[in-house]
Amino acid sequence: MSDTIQELYGRKGRNITDHDAQEITRVEELAYDLKISDVMTRDIKTLSPSDTMRSVVDLLRQNRISGAPVMDGDSLVGVISQEDLMRALADHDREALISKYMSSNVITVKSYEPVIKALETFARSRVGRLPVVDEKNNLVGMITKGDITRGVLTAIRRDYQEEEIRRYRASHLFEDIISDRTSLILRYKIKQGDFVNGGQASSHIKRALLRLGAPPQLARQCGIAVYEAEMNLIIHSTNGGVLRVQVEPHRILMQTSDDGPGIPDVKQALTPGWSTASSLAQSMGFGAGMGLVNIQRCVDKMDLDSTPGKGTKLLMEIHLRPDEKFKAPPGASETPSV
C-alpha cells in the first residue's frame, strides 16, 4: 500500500490540523457525499495486546503506516500509534506489552457514515486515526485525515474526468452519426412566475452546447438569447411555455412558445426600454425593456409572432460561421482513461 498523503506530508513536518479539518470548505460537499467506506484503508495490519512495543516498530516501519488497531481475538481493544511508540521509546521500554501503551478508549466510526462524520470525530477527539466498523461492529478498515484528503482528491479528479468524457462523447455526436441532416432537439417546460429556477433551462442548454463542442462564444450567445427568452416566459406568459432548441451542425434554432396572453403591439415590444413587466420581475433585474433587443443582438434572425388571447411564438436562429463548428475540445482527441 502506498503512502497516504498525510503520511507523506507528516514526514515533511506538515500535517492537516484539527483546525483545518473544521475549516475545510472545498471538500464540504464531498464530505457529505462520500462514505467512509469509499476512502478508508481496507488492508489493515493489526496487532495483539500481548505483542511487544518492538513489534510495533517493525509493523509501522515495514508498512509505512502511522498506527494500527489492536485486536484481542475478534474484538477491538485499542489503537497503537507512533505517539504511543515514542512514549515507550522515551521510557526505553521497547519490550513492554502493547497493552501498556495503547489507547484503550477506542473511538470508532461506521463504514456507512459520510466522511464528514469522521472529520467531525477527528476534530473533536484529537486522534490521528480511527478504526472503521460495519453494522455488526466488525473492524473493516482504518481511516486517517490523509485517507480523506486522498479520497476527496480522487473524487474531484473523477468529476473532472466524467465531464471530459461527456464532452468527448457528445462532441462526436455530429461526426459519428451519419445522415443527410442530423439534428438534436432539446425541450424544456418553463413555469410562469418561477423566478427561483429561472435560467435553469438556459443553463442546461449552454452546458449542452459546450459538451457538444460548440465554440464558447457561440454557446455564450445562445445562452444569453435563450435566457432572455426563458425569463420572458416566466415574466409574461399566462401558463408558462415551452423552450425548444434544435441543434444542427450548421445552425442553432431556438424557440419559445406559450398560450397567452400575447403581445398587442409587437413593434412597440421591440422598442428598447419598452416594458410591461411587473415590479416583481423588475426587482429581479429584468423587465427593463431590453430582453428582446438583447436577443436580436445575439442571433442572426429573430421572429416574433404573437396574437393577443392566443399566444406568442419567438423564433431565434444562429448560423454557424464557416470558422465555427462543433468540434471535440482540445485534449479530447482520445478517450480519456477512467
Binding site: 449552454k206 432572455e228 429581479m284 429584468f286
Partner: protein, 123 residues
C-alpha cells in the same frame, strides 16, 4: 488584475471560499443592477458589480461568462444563491462600498470598463 487585488480594493469578503480564486485573472469590470443590461453589454471575463441580490445575478453571470460577482452595500445573498454560484464556479464577494465608489476605485487601480457600447455579437 488578479481577483485577490480586486477583493483587496473592495475590502470584500469572499462568500464561497471553497472556489480557489486567488489566481483568477479579471480583465475588466461591469457595474449594473439591470441584468438585461449586463447580458447586453458585458464582455466575457469581467467582474460584475451589482446592488441586486438574487439567483438571476448568478444565472446572468453564468450565461455571460462573468468571472466573479461583487454584491455592493454589504448585501448578503441567500445560501441558495451561494450554492448555485459555487456549483457554477463563480466567486461571490460582498463589499460594503457603493456602486460609484467601488467602480471608481477599481478604475483608478487600472481595471478598465468591460461594458461594450451597444456592439452586437455579430459585428
Amino acid at each position: 488584475m488578479k481577483l485577490s487585488e480586486i477583493i483587496h480594493h473592495a475590502k470584500g469578503t469572499v462568500l464561497n471560499p471553497s472556489i480557489l480564486i486567488n489566481d483568477y485573472e479579471i480583465i475588466g469590470g461591469c457595474g449594473s443592477d439591470l441584468m438585461s443590461d449586463v447580458l447586453a453589454a458585458v464582455k466575457p471575463g469581467a467582474v460584475l458589480l451589482t446592488g441586486l441580490c438574487n439567483p438571476q445575478v448568478v444565472r446572468t453571470a453564468q450565461m455571460a461568462d462573468v468571472r466573479a460577482i461583487i454584491f455592493l452595500r454589504g448585501k448578503q445573498p441567500s445560501t441558495e444563491i451561494v450554492a448555485l454560484a459555487t456549483q457554477e464556479n463563480i466567486p461571490l464577494i460582498s463589499s460594503d462600498m457603493g456602486m460609484f465608489e467601488l467602480c471608481g476605485r477599481l478604475y483608478k487601480a487600472g481595471l478598465h470598463s468591460y461594458e461594450s457600447n451597444w456592439i452586437g455579437f455579430h459585428e
